[in-house]
Symmetry: none
Subunit: 220 residues, 4 copies
């Protein structure tokens, strides 16, 4: 069975290779402006080869989105063991924005792109996305229950919070920080997070490290 497994793994490795390459290209130019040929050339295979691993171009998109939702969900689950609901909520928000800033390509495909063909609800990653949203809602509920938060409709509150972090993430990803002096962008991001989340406590994540210094890689 060793042989069979190795083959399977190679197959899977190729898929990953295609996905990674596609992702990189999408970041630069957007899904619609990347062709199967572009991807094929980058991995030095023929275009036809791509079709051995993905039924069509959209399947690549769906696969990446699924990956994205899984990654995000994984990140967000790390907040689950925090007792204090407000801190948990903050951690949840941080995880979200961190994911967006570190994986702008994924974030774009997941939350910023126009729909492609299939209805969102039919896609198999819809459930994972929903789970992430449930996590958020539970946090909000807990906060309300403990009086740490004004009592209102949970969905409304959750959607509002989501909007705040999504707003920041998407403005930055689309390069709408340009009115700030280049060197201050990161500080502004950090500050805005604080401002929005009213966070005064110490952070265990630092927006200034290399991987999150997104400015130069972003395009308008």
């Amino acid at each position: 069975m060793g042989i069979k497994e190795r083959k399977e793994q190679e197959k899977s490795e190729m898929r990953v290779r295609i996905l990674k390459t596609a992702m990189k290209l999408f970041l630069d130019k957007g899904f619609d402006n990347i062709t199967i040929r572009n991807i094929a050339e980058k991995i030095e295979y023929s275009p036809a080869t791509i079709y051995l691993y993905f039924m069509n171009k959209d399947e690549i998109l769906y696969a990446l989105r699924k990956e994205g939702f899984e990654k995000l969900h994984e990140l967000q689950k790390t907040s689950l063991n925090i007792k204090d609901p407000l801190k948990r909520l903050l951690k949840h928000g941080e995880a979200y924005i961190l994911f967006a800033l570190e994986n702008p390509e994924y974030y774009d495909l997941m939350f910023m792109m126009r729909g492609h063909v299939k209805q969102i609800k039919e896609l198999d990653y819809y459930d994972i996305g929903l789970e992430s949203y449930e996590l958020l809602k539970n946090n909000v509920k807990d906060c309300m229950a403990q009086g740490l938060f004004p009592r209102t409709n949970v969905d409304i509150a959750a959607f509002s919070l989501w909007s705040c972090v999504h707003g920041m993430a998407s403005l930055i990803i689309r390069g709408r920080g340009i009115m700030f002096p280049e060197e201050q962008v990161n500080n502004i991001i950090k500050g805005a997070l604080n401002f929005m989340l009213k966070v005064n406590h110490d952070k265990n994540w630092d927006i200034n490290n290399k991987s999150t210094n997104l400015k130069p890689e972003l395009n308008t």
Copy 2:
């Protein structure tokens, strides 16, 4: 010079016609999925005619964006005569979100689309956008000056507020309300606006009226 002026005006009327038509089409399918031919057919001219008024497809985009920024700026200036800085800020925010929800096509082109070719800073509407942003900053500054607002970096505060409204607008425009029961979407939008803007006073705009009941026209 009468003739020249009339000519110019006719030229300008045609431009407007093209822009309006293009805009309507973009709303449905997005800029990338509308062809010059689509626009030409709609206005019952030949594709070649479009090129008499616009150098290329991108120029249409730029013109529309400029229009958008002008409209938005106009809307936002209406808040200038409000004395109370906090109320002025709220009015400013309302105007923004109202613009987004009533003109999702413009909003998409202005704040959600990927950049096309030219760098944003090179574009002639950059200044107008900046002016709008200055308006926001002034409001924030005034609020801080009068102690209505915690004193922090103005840019950070402004960017944060912008993020909140942009987040909501863009999630709604991309149809990410799907986890809510269809009939509650509008309530959630209204509720979230209240939640974020902490608005308790009477509103002179109503999210439930026809033109802002956006749900059915939006696509994911």
Copy 3:
């Protein structure tokens, strides 16, 4: 209006040119083996140009089939002024086989090809084909009425007669005369027609003339 008409005519001339060229190519290799590019190259235009005159490849097929049915119908109507029903029937048969042998490309598309996409009954040339068939049936009916023909079900008789001529035409078009010495093929065709139609009277058409000496142009 002179200009407009000339333009229209040119447009129509181009359509004809494309159809003629396509037809020639189909004769050699069959519809499925001819590409839009092949046609474009032959007429020394770009492939995209073809699409200015035909929506897609199938439309070319349909147009040609329609032409074919019209041509055939025209030919068959010439028999209408013959009084004697049997002679009229013979003339009808001759016209049919003559059409097939002189226009093997049309005949192939009309009666020998596999169906392409649209259901035959939906196509606008279905009616013309039906009319031709009605002509045949009327002839058969008249023959029966005058006792020149055994009385049976008209459809059965008509279908039988059609089968005979179609059989010959299609065998010849597919080159299944190869077991006969090359130089006798035409005689055999003529003889078979006589044999099948029991024709002893003088003919006003001659299978030996150039245009009907089909052998060298046919492929297997």
Copy 4:
């Protein structure tokens, strides 16, 4: 040599399997629309395996045609022991049409398809086809010799008769009975056969039984 023989037989079994599967697929969609992959999937082998048994796709076609000609020849030989030449000829015709209606896939490949690459005369089944034709000619000759048939050129008479049955078979196989009411198609076929073959004697084959009720399986 036992081993070698067994190997050969296995090889042959696989060939048969491929051919049978290919045949079934061709019936539905036609040779040109079936891919090597389609066949491979159906037999649950890889496409490459097909190439161990056939040089290329065309070889499958040739093999099937050969099979077809052999089957037909076999069927037609059954008429040989009939003394009366006219009855023998009728039996011969019946066998032919029965073969066509029961094996439309074979019949299509053998007599209706365009040639693929090789000239018919070069193919090894050409001889068998010719033998079948000789059988027909001998029958015709015998009929003439016994005065049961008008004396004319034997080739002409034979080709004529062939044309009649081929015409019917091919029109039916291509679904050109559409102008008749659905439920009468079988009657028409039967009637036309009678009409053409002038058969009044009892039949031992029945066009109405399941295997020959071809209508629903045929495509246009």
